[in-house]
């Protein structure tokens, strides 16, 4: 992936149970300091998504790495950035505390 160039990545999620699950996901970027350069244009995260029993879906993320990444001396040794998602089952009436998110 070249900083500044938009890129597409896919994850897959499966609901192995026989009940529909409503889930919501959040993400993590490693190394931590690279997170500020990671810009998501569109993804499946932050909103509740419903997975039917045994359903398996592709989850796309469309993103780019901020070109300022190459200017940051702290990032000079970083050539691998790992993006991970955790899917939580959404509980009724409970909203994830996401600072600044409307």
């Amino acid at each position: 992936v070249v900083p500044g160039e938009t890129a597409l990545a896919f994850y897959k999620a499966k609901n192995p149970t026989d009940k529909p699950i409503i889930g919501i996901s959040t993400y993590n970027v490693i190394p931590f300091e690279a997170g500020q350069y990671f810009n998501k244009i569109q993804c499946f995260c932050f909103e509740e998504q419903r997975l039917n029993p045994q359903e398996e879906v592709d989850m796309p993320v469309f993103f780019y790495i901020d070109p300022e990444f190459v200017e940051d001396p702290k990032m000079a040794k970083v050539d691998l950035i790992t993006l991970s998602y955790t899917f939580f089952e959404a509980k009724e009436g409970q909203k994830l505390a996401l600072p600044g998110y409307q």
Binding site: E5, L8, F10, Q42, F44, C45, V57, P60, F62
Partner: protein, 93 residues
């Protein structure tokens, strides 16, 4: 939520996506486009830049099926590919 994976003083603050969320493609309407894109990635040794044409095709598929908000492709970082397309057009008839 707190991912207590790192106990450093800084905590990771997730940011929502710029253009919002993709609805799930429950019926796999764009799976074929996704497969073509993934094949390209595998063949190119996972060079994202080599597969932008197919990434663009995937996003176009989503937009056509209301699985993504319509956005001009130039604004999604595909301006150079669009310009190539329109330059190629006069030669094709």
């Amino acid at each position: 939520m707190s991912t207590a994976m790192n106990f450093s003083s800084k905590s990771f603050k997730p940011r929502p996506p710029d253009k919002g969320a993709f609805p799930l493609d429950h019926f796999g309407e764009c799976s074929a486009f996704k497969e073509r894109f993934m094949k390209c990635l595998r063949d190119s040794g996972y060079e994202s830049g080599a597969c932008r044409q197919r990434a663009m095709a995937y996003l176009e598929c989503r937009m056509e099926r209301q699985l993504m908000a319509n956005e001009p492709l130039e604004k999604l970082g595909f301006k150079d590919l669009i310009d190539e397309k329109s330059e190629a057009k006069p030669e094709k008839l």
